[in-house]
């Protein structure tokens, strides 16, 4: 079992490192059409000087709603686990 785990980690590490070296040079992203649109139009369309904020709350608002749902579910789980105080 332990040998299988070690072999799995080694194979996984090999593929990760190969991907990192073959992906693209660091500092020059290849596919930037969407981000250039965001930078160009964020001030006009969302009236925000901070492009990241305009993406989080406007362009990807539904994504942020899902994030809030996950947060709510996790906090509900924590409250359920500790309902009625922590018994000794």
């Amino acid at each position: 079992m332990k040998a299988a785990k070690i072999i799995f980690v080694i194979i996984f590490a090999y593929f990760l490192i190969a991907c990192a070296l073959l992906l693209r040079p660091f500092g020059s992203p290849t596919e930037t059409t969407m981000d250039e649109y965001f930078i160009k139009n964020a001030q006009i369309e969302t009236a925000s000087n901070n492009v990241v904020a305009s993406i989080v709350f406007d362009y990807r608002g539904l994504d942020t709603l899902g994030e809030a749902t996950v947060l709510f579910a996790a906090v509900s789980g924590v409250i359920l686990l500790f309902r009625g105080g922590v018994p000794k």
């Binding site: 332990k2 785990k5 799995f8 980690v9 996984f12 590490a13 990760l16 490192i17 990192a20 070296l21 992906l23 040079p25 660091f26 500092g27 020059s28 992203p29 930037t32 969407m34 981000d35 250039e36 965001f38 930078i39 160009k40 964020a42 001030q43 000087n49 901070n50 492009v51 990241v52 993406i55 989080v56 990807r60 994504d63 942020t64 994030e67 996950v70 947060l71 579910a73 996790a74 906090v75 789980g77 924590v78 686990l81 500790f82 922590v86 018994p87």
Partner: protein, 134 residues
């Protein structure tokens, strides 16, 4: 001489992609903690380390050489070259989401570890396999 040049090019490749390699190291450390540690709290720490590695990878994937933050009031460049000089904002927004979600997941995991310790008196994952023996 040729061997020297090859080694130099390889070292340059490693140095250029240092951010990606550090992210991979973080993911592998977290995976090591998940697979080879038996303490539940150490496994939770492993998942948190994997989340930091993913965050670093996302930020690095959106970086532009010599870029500035995508905030127009703080930018030190001309407005006309904003599209090509600002770093990509979408990976940063996704990283923001990932930070919040990893925080929530870590809180839930640690709460479960506390409850498991109260119920069973142990945090050893190998002893928790048989639920009917508790």
């Amino acid at each position: 001489m040729l061997e020297n040049k090859k080694a130099l090019l390889f070292a340059l490749l490693i140095l250029q992609n240092a951010n990606f390699l550090v992210a991979i190291c973080l993911v592998l450390f977290g995976l090591y903690a998940l697979l080879f540690k038996k303490n539940l709290i150490k496994m939770a720490i492993g998942i948190a380390i994997i989340a930091s590695g993913i965050n670093l990878f996302l930020i690095s994937a959106g970086y532009r050489k010599g870029g500035v933050a995508p905030i127009f009031t703080e930018a030190t460049i001309k407005a006309s070259e904003a599209e090509t000089r600002m770093v990509l904002p979408t990976p940063q927004a996704l990283t923001l989401t990932n930070i919040v979600i990893s925080l929530a997941v870590t809180a839930l995991m640690l709460s479960l570890a506390i409850r498991i310790y109260q119920q069973t008196g142990t945090l050893d994952a190998t002893k928790l396999g048989r639920l009917d023996e508790l």
